[in-house]
Amino acid sequence: MPGSMNEPELLHAGLNLGNHPPAMRQQLECSIFGFWVFLMSDAILFALLFAVFGTAIQNTAGAPSPGSAFKISAAGRETFALLSSSFTYGMVSICLKHDASRRWVGLWLAITFCLGAWFLDGEVHDFLKMFHDGVTPQRSAALSAFFVLVGTHGLHVTAGMVWILLMGAQMAVYGIDERVKINFIRLGLFWHFLDLVWVAIFSVVYLRGLLG
């Protein structure tokens, strides 16, 4: 069997899976590695949206530039919410690693969900405010690129929150079995990845936007 004997013991942060036969270990390894590869593909998608944003930023066509339209205070609050949610998800992973009860995992998961919701709330309000002021993606290429880049991240966060609900439900139904654990680890990768993308968005879109 692959991955046996002379290869190092497979240890993944939070992967508290006990002693499994090699075939099982191989399957688990595939699951996590495959998700990393998927994230790489997703990272390319974001990289391209950043590139599109970079080339379109000057093309305001008489409409307000994104930098003059968004509220940096809202973006700051969103950043706080999302970065904190990464910390709380880290607590989910630590609970899983130390075989904590469902209650603790569930608690941290719920806090993560609330922080995610707070983030989305901030983003949606900021967008609605901009729409209200007549700053819509239809006005210029720069605004199209802004809304699609930030919005795609927002959609990812929404998907992540649906996933959190799903994991909560699965944990309630099945307890913390192998598949639930694997999916907790994948969800963690996804959630932290969105954090990273947000850091890039905050730096490239929001902070740079302040420069005018």
């Binding site: 391209l48 379109a56 290429a141």
Partner: protein, 701 residues
């Protein structure tokens, strides 16, 4: 009265979106019976009638249950691979008919309108390109790799069998959209690359570009997922001892193609979805107004498009490596060189996308950089050609149909490569771009480079998949037609292109073009004849399958692991996972009398249960996209919801595997070993006679 009319049109919009009766080509042909419209109506009739006939035939034969349980819901990589190849053959029939009709049109349309209206002709070249790239070659690649790669690395399946099924049905759904566009509405007229601003609302408000966007998006999602699946399989699921440098070359090319898919498909997804954002939400990424810039689209598209060329071609290079080595009875010459060349091509493929638009306004320095990078690709490719030639050198070459395809490829591909060097030179490209010279060049790469290889691969591994050989005679006739047809169809296009004949043109005005166009048309007919010969080959082989049976599974004296199991292989591929000691593992096992031995110990095998999730997901996605095309928002939302539910429901299932007991595995293995023991080893001269039961004479070391 008026209220009733308003609410009537409201309901119409709710249920049918922007559809009106005149969108049906059959209705259009009835109302305005020009020849072009009659062709469109006839094509719609054939597509709809064909689908209906297939449905009735399966119902009459009572095969729905069999198809559903054994094929549609199967997660077995071998069956998924075979469905992919069937899909490709159906779509290739349409793609080739379109090619022939386009050649006929251009032949007739010298100072005359010909048989196709300009708009209709534009749909022809758009569907032809879209179908051939996304729904013929991509499924052929996914199919061949699916079938062969896990067998070659000693794995029981791919890493994610369900994801594999989802990918398959996304491809089928995308192909379905293209076919539906034949019956309801129309397809894009914007070419396979769909450049804005022409494909934007301002110039093209109809459903055509939307069909293109969603069909291509489904295909690119399918390819991304397939790439991830294959790459993880090769990274993580090789049998013990199958080190990187012991992998068969086809698996190496599968790995490189998968990596390219992971990196190169997202740009296409981004390009098509941003175009959709322009068309559906009135945004301004690629429009002429409000700061939109179509160059962004062109960059994104070719950031995908060039690596795509190598996604298409590398697996064929893998097939050639296997075929040439096997039919020359020799180890591959410079295996390491071939591996390095494959990797080099994969890396370089990301550095050349700009050569698709030298004329679109970059500075000369930038063009020079990309021109040189393009020419560099000729080096590793040349290395490969030499390696194959040296593999044949001093070998006992058997000129089977796959081998003939390989030799035809080597010669023809070099010509295409040379014309590529011409086009890679920016000043020359300024002369040649957008002419038939370019059309000749890329067909010269893709037909011998990709299609010949994939057909050769299908013929080479056919006995492994179905347990009987294909009749050689029809295969060789097919090679003759394909090769002759290729030269006649495309060499004239070089001449025409160099004389200034533009591509994608419905009518020509220079009578000097006529003879060349006539020859090209004859070539197209010959290629079509070659395609029909392939069906004849399968048909007559099926009829004689008893005499052609090779149950032992090694009809060609193969070298790699896939030949070490029965034909067709058991569901779990290997009764026990093999240990690999060196390259060409099976060949050396045969040489050391280690083949066809029972295992010391059999274990229970876990097999994934069938799942309807993949087919539900793919088909529902196709319906949702159909709703988007016609602005039937209700339909799009409903089926979008179904795809989500299919995915969510699956995540709550726990009973996903069944266990095959060790005793059953052992019994089946021993039955096969008894057949192998009773079979007389065949010398190579009797390879194509009924004496070949799939057991080769042990090689001398």
């Amino acid at each position: 009265m008026q209220v009733a009319m308003v609410s009537g049109s409201l309901i119409w919009h709710l249920l049918l979106g922007r559809f009106v009766w005149a969108d049906l080509p059959i209705v259009k042909a009835w109302q305005d019976p020009t020849f072009s419209n009659i062709i469109a109506g006839g094509a719609a009739g054939i597509a709809a009638g064909g689908a209906l006939a297939g449905f009735l035939l399966i119902t009459y034969l009572r095969k729905w249950r069999y198809l559903w349980t054994q094929w549609f819901t199967s997660l077995d990589h071998k069956r998924i691979g075979i469905i992919y190849i069937c899909l490709a053959l159906v779509m290739m029939t349409r793609g080739l008919i379109e090619a022939v009709l386009m050649r006929v049109q251009q032949d007739l349309a010298v100072n005359a309108p010909g048989i196709l209206a300009p708009d209709h002709f534009a749909q022809f070249f758009s569907t032809h390109g879209t179908i051939m790239i996304f729904f013929v070659v991509m499924p052929l690649i996914a199919g061949l790799i699916n079938f062969v790669m896990p067998l070659q690395i000693g794995a029981r399946d791919v890493a994610f069998p369900l994801l594999n099924s989802i990918s398959l049905w996304l491809s089928v759904g995308g192909a379905g959209l293209v076919m539906v566009s034949l019956v309801i509405g129309e397809f894009s007229t914007g070419g396979w690359s769909g450049y804005p601003p022409y494909t934007e609302l301002a110039f093209n408000g109809g459903v055509g570009p939307d069909y293109w966007i969603w069909a291509v998006t489904m295909s690119s999602m399918s390819a991304t997922l397939t790439g991830i699946n294959f790459a993880v399989t090769i990274y993580k699921m090789r049998a013990p001892g199958m080190h990187w440098m012991r992998m068969p070359l086809f698996t190496w090319t599968a790995l490189c193609t998968s990596i390219l898919m992971i990196y190169a498909m997202p740009p296409l997804t981004v390009a098509t979805l941003l175009l959709a954002a322009d068309r559906y939400f009135g945004m301004h990424f690629f429009t002429n107004a409000n700061g939109g810039n179509m160059m962004t689209y062109v960059d994104l598209f070719w950031l995908f498009g060039h690596p795509e060329v190598y996604i298409l071609i590398l697996p064929s290079f893998g097939v050639y490596s296997e075929v040439v080595s096997t039919y020359s009875g020799k180890e591959l010459y410079s295996y390491v060189g071939l591996v390095i060349a494959t990797m080099a091509i994969a890396v370089l493929s990301f550095t050349v996308w700009l050569h698709h638009f030298f004329t679109m306004g970059q500075s000369a320095d930038i063009n020079a950089f990309f021109g040189i990078a393009t020419m560099l690709i000729g080096i590793p490719t040349g290395v490969k050609i030499y390696n194959w030639i040296w593999t044949m050198f001093m070998g006992r070459v058997r000129y089977t149909a796959p081998m003939l395809f390989s030799i035809a490829f080597m010669i023809t591909f070099v010509i295409g490569g040379l014309s590529g060097i011409v086009l890679a030179t920016p000043p020359l490209d300024y002369m040649m771009h957008n002419t038939l010279f370019l059309v000749a060049h890329f067909h010269n790469m893709l037909i011998p480079g990709t299609l010949f290889g994939l057909i050769a691969g299908c013929q080479y591994w056919f006995p492994k998949a179905f347990g009987f050989r294909l009749i050689e005679k029809w295969g060789r006739i097919s090679v003759l037609f394909w090769v002759l047809g290729f030269y006649l169809a495309f060499m004239p296009l070089y001449v025409l292109g160099a004389s200034g004949a533009p591509r994608r043109t419905v009518e020509f005005y220079d009578p000097a073009f006529r003879p060349w166009l006539l020859v090209a048309m004859c070539g197209a007919f010959l290629i079509f004849a070659g395609f029909l010969c392939l069906f004849m080959q399968v048909w007559s082989s099926v009829k004689q399958r008893e005499a052609l049976a090779v149950p032992v599974g090694d009809p060609w004296d193969g070298r790699t692991l896939e030949w070490s199991v029965a034909a067709p292989p058991p569901e779990y591929n290997f009764a026990t996972i093999p240990q690999i000691g060196r390259r060409d593992a099976f060949y050396w096992r045969k040489a050391n009398a280690g083949a066809y031995r029972p295992a010391d110990h059999y274990r229970d095998i876990e097999i994934p249960k069938n799942s309807a999730c993949g087919i539900v997901f793919g088909i529902a996605m196709a319906f949702a996209c159909f709703g988007l095309v016609w602005h039937i928002w209700l339909l799009a939302a409903a089926f979008g919801l179904i795809t989500c539910i299919a995915g969510l429901a699956r995540s709550f299932m726990r009973d996903l595997h069944r266990i095959l007991p060790a005793a059953e595995v052992e019994a089946e293995d021993r039955r096969w070993l008894a057949i192998a023991g009773a079979a007389a080893p065949t010398p190579r001269v009797l390879e194509h006679t009924p004496a070949n039961e799939g057991r080769a004479i042990c090689p001398e070391v």
